[in-house]
């Protein structure tokens, strides 16, 4: 177990908890955090903040944490970036971890920069890996230049702070025999209502049409589609496979589709098991959003399209012939 004196060697994982749910990236961070803490000879600590999160404390321990700090509100308040920042800054000053991990989710990337600057430490964004090198330095691996460059980055301040992309690491399988320490700290209403809050969530406007980052199979369409209605063909294929439809940016720009389905650097960065790109040429911006998919299949009429080179299987042909035939075959298999 850890002690606060001496060289920092603990790892802190911020458990993202919004709307009563723990974001699945949290369990992936715990898995990597476990490995790093073991290597550093420290403990894996997790912090969770919100209304009613204590029900997840065991879950965090089963998933790898040695100690969980639960910051509990006595009423249902929406997440407040300034309040979460204050809580984390205080906790980090108290427990002095070597590494702090956040998910590179919209919320993680909203919160982590404020915490890092408040602590005057380095923060590395949207990492694909983090490791300890032969000198004992913590190195973070991240894409830059719209995914064209991969950089290995060392942080020379403490703690090392990192946001890590969703679906990069595998969560540990839950071990219900694992034991750990749970420390519950109440945050009372007075603290929240004492003054007008500079940051306040007034309510939910709308849910995402689809959480494309969660999909195991994505059937994506691009400029090769001639009409908006033709997205239905892709939808049929996606439905047969239990996947979802994604699109490249031009289709969002022409109003065919909601941004929730956009795959690419300025849309969603995805990592499904299978990505089927239909009529997508593969601009650098699009590749940056899907090139880490496990298997990439492309269907494109142009054999010189860039997507071909980034595919495990490139089918050269007209998507209007190939996709319906594929649908036919899948239906036959179902019968």
């Amino acid at each position: 177990m850890s002690h606060s004196e001496g060289t920092p060697k603990d790892v802190l994982v911020y458990a993202e908890y919004i709307d009563g749910k723990v974001h699945p990236v949290t369990y992936e961070l715990l898995s990597k955090g476990r490995e790093l803490a073991d290597k550093l000879g420290g403990s894996l600590i997790s912090a969770i903040i919100g209304y009613g999160p204590s029900k997840y404390s065991e879950d965090l321990i089963w998933s790898g944490a040695d100690k969980v700090f639960v910051y509990e509100f006595d009423e249902d308040v929406k997440p407040d970036v300034l309040l979460h920042k204050d809580v984390l800054v205080n906790l980090i000053n108290e427990i002095k971890p070597k590494i702090v991990l956040f998910g590179a989710t919209p919320w993680g990337r909203t919160l982590a920069p404020r915490v890092a600057v408040a602590l005057r430490t380095g923060l590395t964004a949207d990492c694909l890996d983090i490791y300890i090198d032969e000198n004992g330095d913590v190195i973070q691996v991240r894409p830059a230049f719209t995914g064209n460059i991969i950089a290995h980055i060392k942080t020379i301040t403490t703690p090392v702070m990192t946001t890590i992309r969703y679906k990069v690491f595998k969560p540990l399988s839950k071990d219900k025999s694992r034991k750990g320490q749970v420390i519950i700290r109440k945050i009372d209403k007075a603290h929240l209502m004492s003054k007008e809050r500079p940051f306040e969530i007034l309510g939910k406007v709308k849910e995402k049409e689809v959480n494309i980052a969660d999909a195991e199979i994505i059937v994506a369409g691009g400029r090769g589609l001639k009409r908006k209605e033709d997205l239905k063909i892709l939808e049929e294929l996606a439905n047969l496979l239990g996947g979802v439809v994604g699109v490249s940016r031009p289709l969002v720009d022409s109003g065919w589709c909601s941004k929730d389905r956009q795959v690419g650097f300025s849309g969603n960065i995805v990592k499904p098991k299978i990505y089927i790109a239909c009529g997508i040429s593969g601009s650098p911006q699009h590749l940056a959003g899907m090139k880490d998919s496990k298997i990439i299949i492309s269907i494109n009429i142009d054999p010189s399209a860039p997507i071909i080179r980034y595919s495990d299987l490139a089918v050269v042909g007209d998507l209007y012939e190939i996709v319906p035939k594929l649908i036919e075959e899948l239906k036959k298999l179902r019968r």
């Binding site: 993202e16 919004i18 709307d19 970036v81 300034l82 920042k85 919209p106 919320w107 909203t110 920069p113 404020r114 600057v117 430490t121 380095g122 923060l123 964004a125 949207d126 190195i139 894409p143 830059a144 230049f145 719209t146 064209n148 460059i149 991969i150 950089a151 980055i153 060392k154 942080t155 500079p198 940051f199 306040e200 969530i201 007034l202 939910k204 849910e207 995402k208 195991e216 496979l241 300025s266 098991k273 089927i276 650098p284 298997i295 299949i297 054999p303 080179r309 980034y310 595919s311 495990d312 299987l313 490139a314 089918v315 050269v316 042909g317 012939e321 190939i322 075959e329 899948l330 298999l333």
Partner: protein, 262 residues
Amino acid sequence: MKIIVLIKPTPNIEKVRFDVERGVVDRSSAELEINPFDLHAIEAAVRIKERFGGTVISLSMAPPNAVNALRDAIARGVDRAILLSDKRFAGADTLATSYTLASAIRKLGDFDLIICGEKSVDGDTGQVGPEVAELLGIPHASYVVDVKEVSKDSITVVSDLGNAYYLVRLKLPALISVTKEVNVPRKPKLKDVLRARKAKIEIWDADSLKDLIDMDRIGLKGSATRVVKAYYALEKGRRGVIVKGDEGIQKILEILKSEGMI
């Protein structure tokens, strides 16, 4: 309303060449332009100015050759463009960059709103905006997809928090970082392009901030991170099997089977 827009001059990512051996960007291969995400920040600022009056000041930190990109900002409705440029600023990570920008904002005095793009096409971090907000002690909202309401003392926006879109109210002064969904930037008019050609871009060096900054917190010296190595990510690709027509369908079915999807 006094609105500050943070603009990062970046190489055009479609044109820029990569030094594949060294894993770096050949900076001479593409001119600096306004980071595409920041065009939406400028547009958001100009729209607020059009409704409420006031000024839009842009702030950038870049080498001197960023001046043309900032003329473009003026053509798009920025009233005053400031370029922080000094060798001492070079090599800055997001910590040193946000510190430098926040110090320059302090020099500009009181303001109502800061707007920036969600991230840049070169750094890809999206960290500088929230970091500037923290340094200035003001609230911020990231991934803003819509500006709903602006009043004398608050701004209400729709922000993507991941699971859903939320209505967020920030007390002014505040910072918002906007996505490409927030608006469609106008093309500058010819007369504005011509006017911008003659516009003065103010250049501020480190000395011009000397009463406001600790020189140890800028540039590489003030940075908490170091690049250990870098390499080109897209060189090899996957170069898998290329097939035609019906054979392709059979191959797709094979993959779906082997992955347990059918």
